[in-house]
C-alpha cells in the first residue's frame, strides 16, 4: 500500500493513546519527507513522538514505516525502540549526566572523527570534555541533536529542538539539519509551537488540537 511514488516519509500512523486530560487519536499519513506538527502545549505532540519512538506502552493501533510494521496491537507486534532506530531529540535534551559531551555524542558508537566533525558543525568543539551540568540550555539542545544524528537514524523525531537557541544560531543549526536529512535521505518529524521552526525545516504542516491531527491549510488558522 506504500508503493505509490517515492515521496512521503513512508510513515503511516493510526493510533490511540489514552492520556490524562484528553486522548490522542491520530490517523495520519504525511505526504512529504519533512513534516512539522504545530499545536499548543499539552495537545499531545510530545506523546505522539514518543509513540513513534516506541516509548508509549499505552499506544494502541498500528504504526508502519515503509515496509516495516512497528506496532500492530491486533497481532501483538510492538517493535522495541532499539530496533526502530529513530533519532529522538527530546525537548529537555536529556544528556547523560555522568558522561562528557564527547561520550554523549559518541554514545551510539560513532568514532572519534565523526564525533569531532559533528561537534564542529554544532559549534561545540571547545566544550567536548565538559559534563552536561556545565552547559547552557542551548548547548545541551545542540548536543542532544548531535547525539541523535550520530546514531544513524532512519527517522528523525525533533521535539522543540531549538527552543533555547537564539534566532541567528537557530537558522545556522536548522540549515545544518536540513543538510543532514537531505544528504542522508532521512525523513523527519518536527514538533513545535513555533511557526518559525516549521518554516525553517518542514515542507508540510499539520496541527494537533484536542488530540486530533489535521492538515494545516497553509499559513492561516
Amino acid at each position: 500500500m506504500d508503493a505509490e511514488g517515492g515521496s512521503g516519509s513512508g510513515l503511516h500512523v493510526q493510533i490511540h493513546v489514552p492520556l490524562d486530560a484528553i486522548d490522542l487519536d491520530v490517523d495520519w499519513r504525511p505526504e512529504c519527507d519533512h513534516v512539522a506538527i504545530l499545536g499548543p502545549s499539552g495537545s499531545g505532540k510530545s506523546t505522539l513522538l514518543r509513540a513513534l519512538a516506541g516509548l508509549e506502552p499505552k499506544a494502541e493501533g498500528r504504526v508502519s514505516f515503509g515496509e516495516e510494521v512497528w506496532l500492530d496491537s491486533s497481532s501483538d507486534v510492538a517493535k522495541p525502540p532499539w530496533e526502530r532506530r529513530v533519532g529522538w531529540v527530546p525537548q529537555d535534551a536529556l544528556l547523560f549526566p555522568h558522561l562528557s559531551l564527547r561520550e554523549n555524542l559518541g554514545y551510539a558508537g560513532a568514532d572519534t572523527s565523526e564525533v569531532e566533525r559533528m561537534a564542529k558543525s554544532l559549534f561545540l568543539t571547545d566544550l567536548l570534555d565538559r559534563r552536561p551540568r556545565f552547559l547552557s540550555g542551548g548547548e545541551r539542545q545542540r548536543v542532544a541533536l548531535g547525539r541523535a544524528l550520530l546514531s544513524g537514524p532512519r527517522l528523525l523525531l525533533l521535539d522543540e529542538p531549538f527552543s533555547a537557541l537564539d534566532r541567528p544560531l537557530r537558522s545556522e543549526i536548522a540549515a545544518m539539519v536540513r543538510g543532514f536529512v537531505r544528504d542522508n535521505g532521512t525523513p523527519m518529524v518536527l514538533v513545535s509551537h513555533d511557526e518559525h521552526d516549521a518554516e525553517l525545516l518542514a515542507d508540510e504542516r499539520w496541527v494537533l488540537v484536542g488530540g486530533t491531527l489535521t492538515a494545516d491549510g497553509r499559513s492561516g488558522s
Binding site: R50, A53, G54, L55, P80, P81, W82, R84, R85, V86, G87, W88, P90, D92, A93, L94, L95, F96, P97, H98, Y107, A108, G109, R131, P132, R133, S136, G137, R147, A148, S151, G152
Partner: protein, 481 residues
C-alpha cells in the same frame, strides 16, 4: 533480684512465704552478671540471690550487700545433655575426650554456667580435647535451645534447666569430687529499707518448706557456713588492678583486636554478598509492578522492625542443621550456624532493608527517560542498564552499602543466636562488648572496643553523608536549567 535460673521456683517459694504471713515480694530475674552491677549502682533491691559465689563476693567487697547476711540457699548440679533423640551418648565426663561429638554447647564464659562448665571439664582433664568443639552462646537457656534443636550434639547446663526441657535428656551429671558445685548465695543489700524483713525472708529460704520446694524443682539444699570451692572467677577479686585485668583477658580469651578484625570482615563480606541481591531488589521495587510486590517489600523490610533476636531465631530455624535447607547446605560443606558465614549472614539479613531502601530510592530518582533515550539510540535494555542506570544509581548504591556496613557493625541479636559468641570466630565488637560487660574487670578494657565501634560508625555515616551529597549534585545536573 535473683538469678534467672530461679525464675520458676522462686515465685512458688514466695507464695509459701506469703501464706505463712510474710509481706508480698516482687521479683526481678536476670543474669547474675547483669544484676550484680545494677545493685552496686543503686538498684532498689532488698535481697539478692546470685547464681555464683564470685559475684556475691564481689558485691560484698564493693559494699553492695551485707557480707554477714550471705548464705547459700540452694545448690545446683552441672549435667551433660544430649538431644532426646540422640541414639548414643557419652557416659561420663572422661568419655567426652573421645566421644563422637561435633559441637558441644556451653554458656558464655562470663556467665556462671559457662565458667562452671569449663571448670568441670578442666577438673577431669578433658578441656583440651573438648575445647575445639565448643560453641559458646549467652545464657544457659540459649545453650539448652541449641541442644534441643540438635544444632549442638551436646551441652553442659544446670540440672534444673535440663529437667524443664523435654527435647533433651541428661546423659550424665558432673558429680565427681572436684567438680564445681554451683551454689546460690543470697544476701540482704546494704540499701534495703526493710532489713528485718529481708533477714526473715533469707531465713525462710533456708527453712524446711523451701527445701522441699527446691528439691521438687531439682535444686539441691543450701549448705551451712561460708561457701567455698574451686570456682574460677576471672579478675573478680581486685577489679581495678591493670595487671589483673590483662591476665583476666588472657583467661577469658578476649582480644579486642580480634573482635575489631572480625567485625570488619563480617561487615565487608555482608556488603559484598548483598550487593547483587540488593541492587536487583531495589531496582525491582522501584521500577516494576508485579503481583505480590507489597508482600515482597514487606518481607525484605521486616528485619528492620522485627527484633534481631527473632530474626536470628528464624534464620536458625531455616538454616540450622535440622532444616531441609541447612541439611542440604551442610551436605555441600557449607555450615551456617556457629560460623563466620553465619555471622555474616545474620549481619546481611539485618542490614539488607537499609541496603535495599537506599537503592530503591535512587532508582526512584533516576529519570527513566535517560534509559529511553539510550534505547532510541539503538542500545537494548541490558546494556542500557549497565551504561546508564547503574552508573547513575551508583552514589545511591554506595550509600546503601555504607548503611548496610554500619548496621552490620552494630549487629548483635541475630548474630548471637545464629552464630554464637565465640572468640576469634564469631565474636564481633558488639558481642565482645557484651561479654566484657558481664565481667566487672572487663569494663575498662571495653573502652578500646567502644572507641573503635563509635569511630567506625561515624566514619561510615560520614561516608553516607558524602555519598548522598554526591547523589544530589548529580541529579541537579539535569533538573537545574
Amino acid at each position: 533480684m535473683a538469678a534467672s535460673s530461679l525464675q520458676d521456683v522462686l515465685p512458688v517459694v514466695a507464695r509459701a512465704w506469703e501464706a505463712a504471713g510474710g509481706e508480698p515480694i516482687r521479683f526481678s530475674f536476670d543474669a547474675t552478671s547483669r544484676l550484680a552491677p545494677q545493685i552496686l549502682s543503686g538498684a532498689p533491691a532488698d535481697v539478692f540471690i546470685s547464681a555464683d559465689e564470685a559475684w556475691m563476693r564481689w558485691l560484698g567487697d564493693g559494699g553492695g550487700v551485707d557480707p554477714a547476711s550471705i548464705r547459700v540457699v540452694a545448690t545446683n548440679q552441672l549435667v551433660f545433655v544430649v538431644p532426646s533423640g540422640a541414639s548414643d551418648s557419652p557416659t561420663g565426663p572422661r568419655s567426652l575426650a573421645t566421644a563422637d561429638l561435633e559441637r558441644v554447647a556451653l554458656a558464655g564464659e562470663n556467665v556462671p554456667a559457662g565458667r562452671y562448665a569449663r571448670a568441670a571439664l578442666e577438673s577431669v582433664g578433658v578441656w583440651p580435647q573438648v575445647q575445639p568443639r565448643v560453641v559458646r552462646g549467652g545464657t544457659v537457656r540459649g545453650t539448652l535451645e541449641w541442644v534441643a534443636r540438635g544444632e549442638a550434639d551436646g551441652g553442659i547446663v544446670y540440672r534444673t534447666d535440663a529437667l524443664v526441657e523435654d527435647r533433651v535428656r541428661i546423659a550424665f551429671a558432673f558429680d565427681e569430687a572436684g567438680s564445681p558445685s554451683p551454689s546460690y548465695p543470697a544476701a540482704a543489700t546494704t540499701r534495703t529499707e526493710y532489713p528485718e524483713t529481708a533477714r526473715a525472708f533469707l531465713d525462710f529460704l533456708r527453712g524446711a518448706e523451701t527445701l522441699a520446694l527446691l528439691d521438687a524443682s531439682g535444686f539441691g539444699p543450701g549448705v551451712a557456713g561460708s561457701p567455698s570451692g574451686p570456682i574460677p572467677a576471672p579478675g573478680l577479686d581486685r577489679p581495678s588492678s591493670p595487671a589483673q585485668r590483662s591476665s583476666s583477658e588472657g583467661s577469658t580469651g578476649l582480644d579486642p583486636w580480634s573482635a575489631v578484625r572480625l567485625s570488619l570482615i563480617v561487615a565487608f563480606s555482608a556488603v559484598l554478598l548483598g550487593l547483587i541481591p540488593a541492587v536487583s531488589m531495589g531496582w525491582l521495587l522501584a521500577r516494576r509492578d508485579f503481583i505480590g510486590k507489597s508482600f515482597v517489600s514487606m518481607i525484605v523490610m521486616a528485619p528492620l522492625v522485627v527484633p534481631p533476636v527473632v530474626t536470628g531465631f528464624l534464620l536458625l530455624t531455616v538454616l540450622g542443621r535440622e532444616s531441609v535447607l541447612g541439611g542440604w547446605l551442610s551436605a555441600m560443606g557449607l555450615s551456617i550456624p556457629f560460623t563466620l558465614l553465619g555471622a555474616t549472614l545474620a549481619a546481611l539479613v539485618v542490614g539488607f532493608p537499609l541496603y535495599v531502601m537506599a537503592i530503591r530510592a535512587v532508582f526512584d530518582t533516576v529519570d527513566r527517560r535517560f534509559e529511553e533515550v539510550s534505547w532510541t539510540l539503538g542500545v537494548p535494555k541490558a546494556p542500557t542498564f549497565r551504561r546508564i542506570s547503574l552508573p547513575l544509581a551508583l552514589p545511591g548504591i554506595a550509600a546503601g552499602a555504607v548503611l548496610a556496613f554500619a548496621r552490620s557493625l552494630g549487629e548483635f541479636g541475630a548474630t548471637v543466636v545464629l552464630a554464637g559468641n565465640m572468640e576469634g570466630e564469631t565474636r564481633t565488637i558488639a558481642l565482645a562488648v557484651y561479654s566484657l560487660l558481664e565481667s566487672p574487670s572487663g569494663r575498662s578494657s571495653t573502652w578500646i572496643l567502644v572507641v573503635a565501634s563509635v569511630l567506625l560508625s561515624l566514619v561510615a555515616l560520614l561516608g553516607f553523608e558524602g555519598l548522598s551529597r554526591w547523589q544530589r549534585r548529580r541529579m541537579e545536573d539535569h533538573h537545574g536549567r
